[in-house]
């Protein structure tokens, strides 16, 4: 009886080299993976390092690899991912591991800089707010790529990032797509050129792991496909046409 009510949870301890430790955690009806990690840290292993902040799927800081797949742990129910009451929890793939479940996000943040995924406006505070037609095609295209929570789940899911750590990756390129569809963004050319730099969007294999795992259901793969199409037209052309 006791067995049925407990989960067998293996947790990665250490950094790049380390070991698995197994814990028995009480199984509950409503329980997220983050709840499980927190319970382990509070009751079994006070030195366990992990990250979280909001616990409601907003901040993007709690991503880990759960049974081999990247997840936002605060919104992932154990029932959805456990196999026979077992969980294996380790840090995200494709990022340096600092301690236990904590990754160094610097390479990920760095991709945003390198991809030119930074908004640059032209107007000053004395100008009236620029109007964007909500029905325009670029605005609608940007729409489906907004609301990224920077969780790095897609970055961890991407095999091309795994093979080539210089690849800009799905999250930064998804952001670039929103900027190249944003008429207020003044550095269209610069952003476009950065997205098409070496190890940029043309390295994407379109296999869609990023889209499959993005917890907020964005589709970086579609955004990157849009960027690739821009290879034929250039950046401004699209905004000018529509």
């Amino acid at each position: 009886m006791e067995k049925e009510n407990s989960l067998r949870v293996r947790v990665w301890r250490g950094s790049e080299s380390g070991y698995w430790t197994e814990y028995a955690v009480v199984a509950r009806d409503n329980q997220t993976v983050l709840d499980v990690v927190t319970e382990i840290q509070r009751k079994h292993e006070p030195s366990l390092a992990y990250r979280f902040a909001c616990r409601v799927g907003v901040c993007g800081s709690c991503a880990m690899t759960v049974n081999g797949q990247p997840r936002w742990t605060c919104r992932t129910h154990v029932k959805k991912v456990a196999h026979d009451g077992q969980l294996a929890i380790e840090p995200l793939r494709n990022l340096p591991h600092i301690k236990d479940l904590v990754c160094d996000l610097e390479p990920f943040i760095d991709t945003w800089q390198r991809a030119g995924a930074i908004f640059q406006g032209q107007s000053t505070r004395s100008d009236p707010p620029q109007k964007v037609d909500p029905g325009s095609k670029p605005r609608k295209q940007a729409d489906s790529a907004l609301q990224c929570i920077n969780c790095a789940v897609c970055y961890s899911a991407c095999d091309v990032v795994h093979w080539n750590r210089r690849y800009l990756g799905p999250a930064a390129l998804n952001r670039v797509w929103t900027l190249l569809n944003d008429e207020r963004h003044s550095e269209q050319e610069e952003t476009f050129n950065k997205a098409f730099s070496r190890d940029g969007c043309s390295s994407c294999h379109s296999h869609g792991n990023c889209t499959r795992f993005c917890p907020v259901e964005l589709s970086p793969a579609s955004s990157i496909a849009g960027l690739k199409k821009m290879a034929f037209s250039g950046p401004q052309a699209r905004l000018a046409h529509e």
Binding site: W163, N164, F196, R198, S202, K228, A231
Partner: protein, 108 residues
């Protein structure tokens, strides 16, 4: 050539190659019916400007298309730097061009 141009060129060469490969395969099937000898082949290809142009374009497209793909594979699967990768891709391009073109010229 920058990445954008390479990307476009690889797509265009693919679009050219796709129908050509089908014609090429069809040609092989038809040509080998009833056996195949060197004279037979040459009798069909000698002085045939159409096929020479066809295979000339085929070779050029393949020599452009393949090295760009190989370049990507080398970037993903080896630790070589861009200089070495671009050098190797260029080498593959030259080899394909020389081998392909000498074959086209030989049967013309």
């Amino acid at each position: 050539m920058n990445e954008q141009t390479l990307f476009v060129v690889q797509r265009i060469s693919a679009a050219i190659l796709a129908p050509m490969v089908l014609v090429h395969l069809g040609l092989i099937l038809i040509a080998v019916e009833g056996g195949l000898s060197a004279e037979e082949i040459l009798s069909r290809t000698r002085d045939n400007v159409g096929w020479t142009l066809f295979y000339g374009l085929f070779v050029v497209s393949a020599a452009i298309h393949a090295p760009i793909g190989i370049r990507n594979i080398l970037r993903e699967w080896t630790r070589l730097g861009w200089k070495a990768i671009d050098g190797l891709a260029m080498l593959v391009c030259v080899i394909l061009l020389v081998l392909g073109m000498s074959a086209v010229i030989a049967v013309f």
